[in-house]
Every structure is written in C-alpha cells, then in structure tokens.
C-alpha cells in the first residue's frame, strides 16, 4: 500500500534526479509521469502507483512547494477529465501506452466529437457514419459544439457503425487523428461574439481499426464512462464563500454605493443566500464523497449552478446601470481557455446562458433527478426497439 510518506519520498527522489534549474519543463513532466506521480491512482507504468486518489494532493502540494512546473491541466480538460479515464478503462495495452503519456504531459491536447446538429439531448440518435474498409474505418458526418478542436491533436469520437439496429446498439467509439486531411474545423461564433466552440466536418476520414476503443457496437457503453467523468468533474470542487458568480457583483456592490437601489438590494441578498446555500450543498457533497457515502446530491448541483449563474449575472448587468448598456468587445476571438466569471457582466450574462444547455440541458437533468432519485415513471420511449435508420428525423 502506497501511503503519504512513501509518496513524499518518491516526490523528493524525482526532484533530486531532475533538478528544476537544469531540467526542461516537458522533460520534467515526462519524468514525473514515469515515476508514477502524474495521477497516483492510475496503474504503475501509466503514470500512477495504484495509490488512493485522495493522495494526489500530497504529491501536488510537494511539487508546488518546490516550484515544479505542472501540466497546465486547464489546457487539456477534455483529455485529462474525459478521454484518459475512458482509454484507461477500455483501451488496449498498446493504446494506453501510446496515448496516456503525451496526453498527461500536454504534448497532445484532446477534444470531443460527440454532439451533432441532429443529436443533442438525444445523443444516441447520432448520424455520423463509420464504414469498415479492410483495416480501417471511413468516417463521414458533422459534429458540433467542439471546444478546442482547433488546438487539438486527437479527438474522442462516437459514430454509427450499424444503422440496422436500435440506436444505442449501433454505435462505436474511436480515437480520431485531428490532422487527417478529411477533418475540417470551422469556428462557431456564439452570442458572446467569440468562437469558443467549433463545427467539425468529417469527410472520408480514415481511422485505423487500432484506434477503435472497445468492441464494435459497444460505443454507447464506452461513452458512458466519458460522460460520467464529465459529471464527476463538475461536482466535488471546494469553493470559498463568494467564490463563484456572486463574487464580482458583491465586490461591485461594496465599491460602488452610487449604484445601489432598494430593489437591487433585495434581489442581491436573495441571490447571495442562494449562492451560499449552493456552496454549502457542494461542500456537503464533497464531504460525502470523502467519507465514501456518495449521495444523489451531485445530480442537482449542475442545475443549481446553471440557474444561479444566469440569475446573478443578469442582476449584475442591471446593477451597473448605464454601464449595463455597454459591452466590452464583440470581436470574433477564439479563446483557448474559458472563464465563466471572466470579462464583463454582459459577457458573463450571455455566456452563462449556455450553462443550462452544455453537458446536459436542465430539462434532461430534471428528468434524470425525477426518475433516478425520486423513482418516478420514465418518459415514454417510442424509439427503443426501432432500427436507427427507421427513426423519424
């Protein structure tokens, strides 16, 4: 069993063998991966030591104290948070060896090719086709809402390999090389003016069968690992009081007494209370996870934060009075990182409209809570036993 003392010893060894002053950033990260200190809960040889996940904090703290470079995880959120756990669970030994190291050190950034214009909430209805030709698959279709596609080397992709069976059964999961000449990435400009997402057009993209993840037709099952990890990433964070969207408007309120009105005051206080309670709920969820008693509370957190972000940023635009009539910049830009609480109130208001759509709409999440937590009857399913090709669209 690897304990905290052992991890501290190994971290000290890493630092001794690769002095920060003389070691290149990428070389240090590779050495860290090879020492099993990248993600300690991963297996040995794949960046980990089979240690408890909670001990990662010990390593991170030691390395931060030493001033070591990190792998800039925000640049590769989809790779680290979604692609990696799926490759770990379903990948062949070769795939794990090939992909996990460059992914973790950040040499290869990943994006996600899941949503399509015709498959949003009903993701399993997706129509991008993958047809087998010898040792390869030929892929044609269109994906959308792909963050970071323009910076990505690889993508996780789900595509239809059998149109003659019901929709969930005919999907296969692939790892797609974004440098293939058939991949075309076009910025998708959104209401904020910037293009944080892309449309991705796939025309005769050739994917070798060695880049298939899981069995043919098992793609929906494999994708569940990806999507469950998306929800884990959303819960489980620890926020200080006023740590979220309520922070900037509270600061403005304190610094700008001339903006205050009775009506705004009442609304601000109410949202401040709602934010503090949501923060406590997230903290309670975190404590449950640490204690090994995960509750169903996580299902509600995204719903709560979506509503709060929208209402608070909406109030903040009004608090600013005349300045609320202005916007900081409509220029089309392609940001590498997205900060929901960044830029001006107007931007925050517009960007937060996506919070109740991305990663599962609030309407779908309410169904999930009603059915899985409260045990209410499921929605009628008319598509269950129908071949995908016969679905109405």
């Amino acid at each position: 069993m690897t304990d905290a003392a052992e991890l501290k010893r190994r971290t000290a060894e890493l630092l001794a063998a690769h002095p920060l002053a003389t070691t290149d950033r990428l070389d240090f990260l590779k050495a860290r991966f090879d020492a099993g200190l990248a993600w300690v809960h991963y297996p040995q040889g794949l960046g980990g030591l089979n240690a408890p996940r909670s001990l990662q904090a010990v390593v991170d703290a030691e390395l931060e104290a030493a001033g070591a470079p990190d792998n800039d995880p925000r640049r590769n959120g989809i790779g680290l948070g979604m692609a990696a756990p799926t490759i770990l669970r379903y990948g062949t030994e070769e795939q794990k060896q090939r992909f996990l190291r460059p992914l973790w050190v950040g040499e290869e950034v990943w994006c996600q090719l899941f949503s399509e214009p015709g498959a949003g909430s009903d993701l399993a209805a997706l129509g991008t086709r993958a047809v087998r030709e010898g040792d390869s698959w030929v892929v044609n279709g269109q994906k959308v809402w792909t963050s970071g596609a323009h910076n990505s080397r690889w993508a996780i992709l789900i595509a239809r390999t059998d149109p003659d069976v019901p929709k969930h059964a005919g999907i296969t999961y692939f790892l797609c090389d974004m440098t293939d000449p058939g991949v075309e990435v076009r910025p998708l400009r959104q209401i904020t003016g910037e293009a944080e997402f892309n449309e991705v057009f796939l025309t005769d993209v050739r994917i070798p069968d060695t880049c298939r993840l899981g069995e043919v037709g098992d793609g929906w099952k494999v994708a569940q690992t990806t999507l469950n990890n998306e929800r884990v990433a959303i819960g489980g964070m620890r926020l200080p009081r006023e740590g979220g969207m309520i922070g900037p408007v509270s600061k403005t309120w304190r610094e700008r007494p001339e903006l205050r009105t009775q009506d705004l005051h009442q609304r601000l206080l109410k949202l401040w209370v709602d934010s503090e309670v949501a923060r406590l709920t997230a903290e309670r969820l975190r404590q449950q996870l640490v204690a090994g008693q995960p509750g169903p509370e996580g299902a509600g957190m995204k719903l709560a934060f979506a509503r709060l972000n929208q209402e608070i940023s909406g109030l903040e635009v009004e608090v600013r009075g005349e300045e609320g009539l202005l916007y900081d910049d409509w220029t089309l830009r392609r940001p590498e990182l997205v900060d929901f609480t960044g830029r001006d109130a107007g931007y925050r208001y517009l960007r937060s409209k996506g919070n109740s759509i991305e990663g599962g709409t609030s309407e779908v999440l309410l169904n999930i809570v009603a059915e899985r937590v409260l045990g209410l009857p499921a929605e009628p399913r008319t598509d269950k036993d129908v071949a995908w090709k016969d679905l109405s669209r």
């Binding site: 309120w253 005051h265 709602d274 309670v277 406590l280 709920t281 404590q287 509600g300 169904n367 009603a370």
Partner: protein
C-alpha cells in the same frame, strides 16, 4: 473564515434519528395529531414524556454537570427534523431549545436541571414572531411584582414556568400558576399560542434579558431550519409516493413531465436546505460563524418549507384540501414557521450587515 463545518450526520446522530422516528410512529400518527388539534390538551403529553423523560432528549443542550446530556445543537437538530416530519405537538423547540438556551445564559442551575430532566417545561415569554436581535415587548416591574400582557407566546399553555423579560432589563422566572395563560386561536394547529397576563405576579430574577433572549432566539431560529427541513422532506416524500400510486388518464400521475420537473426542483430545494440546516446546527455547536450560518439558514428555509407544503397540497389536489388529510397540518406549520423567530426578510437584513452588503 473558520474551519469547514461538518455537514454530515454521524452514526450516533443517525441512531438517534431512528429512535425518535420509531417513538413518533407509535405516538404521533396523523389521525391522532389531527384529532388532538380540537381537544383540550393541544400537546401530546405521552409523546413528550417518552422523548423528554424516557430518552432524555430535553437535556441535550445542557452540560452533564448541570443535569443534562451534554450533547450539542447537532443532535437537537436531528430530533427537530423528526419532530418536523411528524408535525409532532410537543414543546421541544420552545422548552428544550429556546427556554433552555435562555437559562444557559443566566445563573439558573436549578431550573435548568428541571427543564433538562423533562420534569418541567418552560416557555420564553417573547412573541414567536421576534427575530434574534429584534425588539420584543416587556412587562412592567414594580415593587417586586410584574404587570403586563404578552401575546403569541408559543407553548405557554401547559408550560410550568414562564421566562418573562421586564422593563428593568431583567429576565424573570414566573410560575405558570401565578400568571393567566389564555389560548389564542393559532394558524398553526400543532404549536399552540397563548396570551400571558401578569397582574402583580412574583418573579425570580434570572439574569440579563437582552443577552438571554438573543441567545435563545438565535438558537431557536437556527434549529427551526431543521424542523423546516423535516416538514419539507415529509411533504416531498409523501407527494412522490402518492403520485406513483394515483392514476388518471390510465397512467400514474407522477409520470407526467410537468409534475416530474416540479418534484425534481423541490427535491433540489430540500437538498439545499439540508446543507443550510446542518451548517446552522454545526455552527451553533462550535460557535464559529454562527450569526451568518443562522441568518443564511433562516433566509432560505421558509420558502422551501412553504413551497414543499404548497406543492404537496396542489399535487394531492382534492384530497389535499380536506381536513382529514394531514397535508394541511404541514402547510399551516410551514407558513407559521416562515414568521417564527423572524421572517426570511428580517434575516436577510441582518445578513446585509454581517457580510457587508449594505442597503442604499
């Protein structure tokens, strides 16, 4: 800011919950509670004796060397969740929390031990509507005797001793036998209110009223959130159960998406209230950040408990409008609780001071 609050329930707290729930299942079934609302004894004395005397719960907040159990607000909050779930007509919040906290702020060990043992019950003679730090009515202290009338005193009926604030700044213990306690017709059928009239009654000075009343009302407000959580949880659970069973248009009513979404929203509110109520109870127990924690819980709890009860009534539809179905007991308690120990608005105003979000 303080260390992180413990927002979970310990194994001991869960065991306490199970024991209280068992006891209430035996004593406080809904038809019995409804029948009692129109009887001469508004309190369920058998249930109270079993809780206070049998289980020793009246003394949770009192240290062991003063005759209590030496537990904390965390355990008392669990008891209140269960009492809320059953809308149990017992003077727990008023005697074992509010009056007890007032005595803990005074030099009143003998009386404290009597309340802790459950041998006597006490009621703080401050209107149920007063928020912590809010203005309250006092009686006149003249020549060693007390004169005056106080209204909306919760659970004064049946109390053995009244804790009365007077115009000299003192808090006095008055035997109920030397006061006139007149029942008022209360909106909440399960928490009786009364007028207390003192006409030359003798009182024993306990200590400083302002300090004692503030401490008592703060604990009352903070732990009321746990009672409101219990109310909300029962109404949600019962409504979900009913809607899985109730069929219209040849299907369970709970399968209609319009209703599923409303119930899911309500569930989310209850989950939030649990965190806020646990936080208030933990803060009262540790003393850290208690003013903010209580104000946050009370600024949030009332709307959830009332919303849950209102949804329960609407979704039960016709049967929910009957005297026979218990949902009205929960609605009445929830609505009265939204005024008890200060409205959400009063607590928000307090928060504006505490977290420096000043009014214009």
């Amino acid at each position: 800011m303080s260390a992180q609050p413990d927002l979970l329930y310990s194994e001991e707290e869960e065991a306490l919950r199970a024991a209280v729930r068992d006891l209430l299942a035996d004593h406080c079934d809904a038809p019995g509670v409804i029948a009692r609302t129109e009887s001469d004894t508004p309190h369920d004395l058998a249930a109270w004796k079993a809780l206070a005397d049998g289980m020793g719960l009246a003394g949770l907040l009192v240290p062991e060397d003063k005759g209590g159990q030496g537990a904390t607000h965390r355990e008392a909050a669990v008891v209140l969740e269960e009492l809320g779930r059953a809308v149990a007509p017992v003077p727990y919040l008023t005697s074992a929390v509010v009056a007890t906290e007032a005595l803990l702020a005074c030099d009143a060990d003998e009386l404290l031990a009597e309340l802790a043992s459950g041998r006597k019950t006490g009621a703080l003679a401050v209107s149920l509507s007063v928020a912590p730090g809010g203005a309250y009515k006092v009686v006149r202290h003249e020549g060693g005797a007390l004169h005056g009338e106080l209204t909306a005193i919760a659970d004064a009926q049946g109390a053995d001793v009244l804790l009365v604030p007077a115009d000299d700044g003192g808090l006095y213990a008055v035997d109920a036998t030397s006061a006139t306690v007149t029942p008022q017709v209360a909106f909440d059928l399960t928490r009786p209110l009364a007028t207390v009239t003192l006409d030359g009654a003798r009182g024993r000075l306990l200590g400083d009223a302002e300090v004692a009343v503030h401490r008592a009302l703060r604990a009352g407000a903070g732990l009321l959130a746990s009672e409101q959580l219990g109310l909300a949880e029962w109404t949600l659970t019962e409504t979900v159960r009913y809607l899985k069973e109730r069929k219209q248009f040849n299907r369970p009513v709970g399968g209609f998406q319009a209703l599923k979404h409303r119930l899911a929203q309500l569930w989310l509110e209850v989950v939030n209230l649990r965190a806020a109520a646990r936080n208030a109870a933990d803060a009262l127990a540790t003393g850290a950040d208690a003013d903010v924690a209580v104000a946050v819980a009370q600024a949030y709890a009332a709307s959830v408990a009332v919303h849950a009860a209102e949804e329960a009534l609407q979704l039960h539809a016709g049967i929910g409008m009957t005297w026979e179905h218990p949902v009205h007991l929960y609605l009445k308690r929830a609505k009265a609780d939204s005024i008890a120990y200060g409205t959400a608005g009063a607590h928000r105003a307090r928060l504006a001071e505490l977290v420096d979000l000043q009014a214009p």
